[in-house]
């Protein structure tokens, strides 16, 4: 590990991370504040099962359903995934394409250590964002009149953090393994979005139901943490995926030529 490299990677992303944290807390509070007026008036939507699945149950009549639909099912993982993916791709392939990595790796540091340091920085950013979401959810739920336990809010935040680690690790492995930022961003984003789509549609289309097990998203949201608490098996799978992909990133970058 190179803590200096972790420090530089964090420093480069500090302003964006701080703005994201403040923004997310504000969004969570706003969502909570809207629940008494909007949520109660909408109630439970009577839509087709497929649409209800895409909307996280479409139950706007309860505060749990409201936060699941507004934050848990799409917005939360979207924000966490986007920040993790862009950070991981930028700090590996992005720096390589910008010709910065060629200078840094002319110094006595192993490529694998460099990637480990950058992975640590991305993990720290994911934890910071998740912490902001956790704070925002606690305040937002209180503003919305309460009704979700802190344990369940914590479960959602923890699942979100591990989902962020895994999606970031997809981009890290591709960025470090290929040096191609566009590829890393594109494939990692596709994995995230497809995972959401497949997880939502799988209960309705038996032919693709098995596909959900291949997507990190399933291990984040499959057990609905706001209702049922943390999914330990899901966390184990996401952790294993993160570790495997990070190891692949470390091996991948060590075995190839730097592109620039």
């Amino acid at each position: 590990m190179s803590w200096r490299t972790t420090g530089i990677a964090l420093r480069l992303r500090l302003p964006a991370t701080l703005f994201a944290c403040v923004g997310l807390i504000a969004v969570m509070i706003a969502v909570g504040a809207l629940f008494p007026a909007v949520g109660h008036s909408i109630g439970k939507l009577h839509v087709s099962a497929s649409v209800a699945n895409l909307l996280g149950g479409a139950d706007y009549g309860t505060i749990t359903g409201w936060f699941r639909s507004e934050i848990g099912i799409f917005y939360g993982p979207l924000v966490i995934g986007a920040l993790a993916i862009t950070g991981a791709a930028a700090t590996t392939a992005g720096e390589e394409e910008d010709r910065i990595l060629g200078l840094v790796l002319a110094h006595p540091i192993r490529r694998s250590r460099l990637v480990a340091a950058k992975a640590t920085a991305i993990a720290a950013i994911v934890v910071s964002i998740t912490f902001a979401i956790w704070i925002g959810l606690i305040v937002g739920v209180a503003v919305g009149g309460g009704g979700i336990t802190i344990a369940h809010i914590t479960a959602l935040a923890v699942q979100l953090a591990f989902f962020g680690f895994a999606t970031g690790a997809v981009a890290l492995a591709l960025g470090a393994g290929t040096g191609n930022k566009s590829l890393a961003l594109g494939v990692a984003a596709t994995v995230g979005i497809l995972g959401w789509l497949i997880n939502s549609l799988a209960p309705l289309v038996s032919a693709i139901s098995w596909l959900k097990y291949l997507a990190p998203y399933y291990y984040y949201a499959g057990r609905d943490p706001l209702t049922h608490g943390a999914d330990i098996l899901g966390l184990i799978v996401l952790s294993a995926l993160t570790l495997l992909l990070t190891a692949a990133a470390m091996i991948g970058i060590a075995r190839r030529d730097l592109r620039a």
Binding site: R4, I8, L103, A106, P108, I109
Partner: protein
């Protein structure tokens, strides 16, 4: 630690094939310790590829290289510890200041004497307090030079080091090269023009389309340089008389003066001139640049 008698750089059949004739092919090269060695060639000749191979940033297709007696594939960390590198087309973290970036790189490297770093910053008048993206190309290059020299490396690998530097800073840089060479350190620097390295190098190599064309000292290269004589006659003389002579590369008249460029002995030129009433003969400076351009364009003799 390997014996100091080993060359600073030794490449044997070193190749990197990018396909379509691009890359570096069968490079055999030895650079002695304490040398300031110039590596010349047009853009895309393979200079940067060679330097990146030496630092294990890219891996050879075939062949091998040793730096400071260490194999570039097996001992890359130790090599990078003892080498200072300035990449061509230098890029650094644009959002950060020069001070933060230099602190980071010094930390990665270890063993950087703060006083040495500060003296380099002062010498090059480097701006450490503004974000790097706000600096001009020349000011960024100064930071690149500071980071390459700040740990007093045994070997400096510098890719186009004076790109963007103003003449005053170039002078400081050349003086610094003289100092590190006097201390026994080796410098391997690339350029695409002779004038950039002529004043500082002991030996130089010319690379063209990935292949080494020639390695020699400047003195030896001067010996085969095109010589020019300016011959002033009492009355105008037909320059065509000189063009047909063996070894003459050019001849043209300017009034009663004929300028003759030739390779090898001057005998035939002098004897032809002596058939006329000669007022004066003035030698012109050997044109080294012409040699380099010929090597760049095609293999000499072809």
């Amino acid at each position: 630690m390997p014996a100091v008698s080993t060359p600073a750089i030794a490449a044997s059949g070193l190749s990197k094939d990018y396909g379509s004739g691009r890359g570096l092919f069968e490079l055999d090269l030895e650079i002695e310790r304490g040398e300031v060695f110039g590596f010349l060639g047009p853009n895309g000749a393979g200079k940067s590829t060679t330097m990146r191979l030496l630092l294990d940033l890219i891996r050879p297709t075939s062949g091998s290289a040793q730096v400071l007696g260490l194999d570039t594939g097996r001992n890359t960390l130790e090599i990078r510890r003892r080498v200072g590198f300035l990449p061509g087309d230098l890029a650094m973290y644009g959002k950060l200041t020069g001070r933060v970036v230099l602190d980071y790189l010094a930390g990665l490297r270890g063993g950087v004497d703060r006083r040495v770093r500060d003296s380099l910053v002062e010498r090059f008048d480097a701006d450490l307090d503004r974000p790097i993206r706000e600096l001009s190309t020349g000011n960024r290059q100064k930071l690149g030079l500071v980071q390459a020299f700040m740990h007093e490396p045994e070997l400096l690998i510098l890719d186009e080091p004076i790109a963007g530097l103003d003449p005053l800073v170039q002078q400081s840089f050349h003086a610094l090269l003289g100092e590190v060479s006097a201390q026994g350190h080796t410098v391997f620097l690339s350029s695409h023009t002779l004038s950039e390295v002529e004043r500082v190098t002991h030996r130089l190599a010319i690379l063209r389309e990935g292949r080494l064309v020639i390695v020699d000292s400047l003195e030896n290269l001067r010996k085969v340089a095109v010589q020019r004589l300016e011959i002033e006659f009492a009355a105008p003389v037909d320059a065509g008389e000189f063009r047909s002579l063996t070894g003459v590369t050019e001849a043209h008249a300017d009034g009663a003066t004929v300028i003759v460029g030739f390779e090898g002995a001057a005998d035939a030129v002098i004897k032809t001139a002596a058939r006329h009433d000669v007022r004066a003969i003035r030698p012109r400076e050997d044109d080294l640049e012409e040699i380099f351009l010929r090597y760049y364009r095609a293999e000499p003799g072809k």
